[in-house]
Amino acid sequence: MDLKYLAISNIGPFKGLHQFHFNTTSGKNGFAIFSKNGRGKTSLFNAMQWALFGEVFERGSVRSGRWSDGRKRTIVGDYSKNPGPMMNQDAYREMRIPEMNVIIIATQNGKDIQINRVARSRVGSMPRVDDDLNQNLTVTIGEEVAQDAKGQELVENLFPNELRRFFFIDGESLEEYVDLVKAGQVGGIKDDVESVLRLPALTRGISDLENIRSSIEKEIASESREKRIMEKSASEAQSLQIEINELKSNLETKERNFEKTKSRYNDLEAELKGFSEAISHIKELERLRAQKEALSTALKRSSDARYNLSSNAWMVLIWKRADALYGEVSEQQNNIQSSNYQIDLINRKIDKLKDEIEQSTGFCSHCEQPIVDAEDHKSRLKRELLDLESQQSTISSDSGLSMNEVITRMGDLAKLNPPTGSKKTIIESNENWLEDRRKLLNIIETLEKEESRGLEGVDSSELGAKHEQLGQMRTTLRRMEPVIDEFKQNIKRKETEFKRLGGGKISMLNHKKNNTNSTIGELLNVMKDTLAKYRDSARKDVERVASESFRNVINAPEALTGIKIDQNFNGSIVGADGRKVTMPSSGQEMTMTLCIMDALRRVSNVSAPIFFDTPGRSLDDDHKKAQLEYFWSMRNHQFIIFPHSGEYKIEETINEFGGLIGSAWELTWPADREVCEKCGEDSPLKEGSVMRCLKCEEKWDISIRETTVKVLEVES
């Protein structure tokens, strides 16, 4: 991937839009962005990372023998902190809707790539935290356009995030890398090395395949259980199939018989069609005979009822007379009861008078004084007694019969009383019997007439027999139909059950899955073998390429002949005697580390530009020059350095390496301008916070800390 264009807006000290056109037509891969400290080299370096990965981290460090990224940089927030937020502070304060933006245009294999990442406030001015921003990524590769997560996926296919430390090299952190590379700290750089060599493709691929194999094994086990169930079902299905076949065979026989009978029935019916009059005569005779039979039964029933009910008929007749007599006796009974009551009353009065007469002493029973007219009173009581006895005698003599006699008579008469409704039922049963009899006689008469009619030229007995046979066949057919239906229903039920049991089939899926599992097993072996062998061959490749670079960059290639990389990818410098150099200088170690990183990039076959912030740190002049000469000479990687003025002098570098530099820029503040931009006069006068050109009176404010980008002229 070759970088063609970079535009940044409102990042770090870059207020507004700033553009960088990378000259890719010259075939030169060296690029440099010079500046004094604080002018925005690192901001530019970070802007590239933010555009590609959407995040930037503070400088990392080594903890417990492992590299650890610093804190994630915020886009907005507290500007009093160091490092502060990434968005330009003036833009943040002045813009109605603050926005930060980076556009990268690159090319790879003839395809144009455009990456545009924007962070824009969604809460108006002065967003307080990053959550107040909308961050959007748009990636265009050729004709393909993708947004956000999908876009990020495309970016990382070109430029894996895991490998960014091999492409975004921070000179300030290089010493930490040197420590990791040389100190033999297991796990230090090894993971990164494996990443850059694409070993995760194999290690994670192995884990994926093992996971798939485990899933398939579970599926096979589950299917085996299902298979056992299916086998049981298949056995049941086979028994059911035998039953179904037997039922079908029986059904066929029954249907055949039915059809045969139906055919015979149709033939006979057709045969009898020519004798329709005779048939109707026979049918009429049959009907009349059946009716006669039914009526005979009905008459017998009504006759029996009439006979049974007639046993009460004499009572009905006698009761006609006895009913009045019973009424008379009943009245006599009432009279006797009334007389007896009166006699009883009179007797009680007589007894009372008798007692009074007997007990009369001539003295008052209460006060025991002599009663004046006691005799008169006694005489009057005796007269009353005589009257009562006379009344009793009269009443007693009035009744002719005694009560016992009356009751006996009533009992005798009651025996003659028929049960309630007897008369009505006797009459009705008689009427029913008469009606049934009349009907029967009518039918007998009609039947005799019909029987006597006869039909000419027809053997009525044979015809009758055939007609009877037709009737029997019709009955048979009617009986056969539901039996056949029942058979069909039964077969249908069993066939449904047969289907439910899977029709006796057994799944063959296991076979396919076993094949897949076996393929995965083979592939796993290939991958594990590749991993084991490649780890070592890659190490050797890295060692070879790093040594080659090292010899090109180091200032004493005769004495320091190469780099040794052990199993854990820890490096050391090797001397001419083939032994490890025990006390290399820090510059030599720095160079070794850079060479190993370069070798890893080259062996990994990832094609992406290298961004190197503060590249000359800790290197002496010879090594710095050798480094530029070597890396800027590479044909397949753009090498973009961000040196400060103490590392590489602008004029010196451009003069010496102009032939290797595609483009170069200088980042400046107004305070850095020592030449008037308007007339070229090089002795401006400082007046407080303003510089004034003595020749053309042009003035510029040197208190402003806004970076401007100046394109430097390089050898074309």
Binding site: P160, E162, R198, R204, G205, N211, T530, Y534, A538, N605
Partner: protein
Amino acid sequence: MEGVPEGLKDLFFDLGKKKGFSEEFLTEVLTYFVKNQYLKQGDRDHIRNSLRRIIEKGE
């Protein structure tokens, strides 16, 4: 095959072909592994499903 070290590719192809796999199948598998190598474990379910389809298709 971009972004894949030559040594890794050559070794994988050599060993794979010895096991009877076709170059087309090996290319598809390795490209897929490389493309998705940095995806985290928790996000790899769809990768595994696609990989299984690739293997089943290749049989």
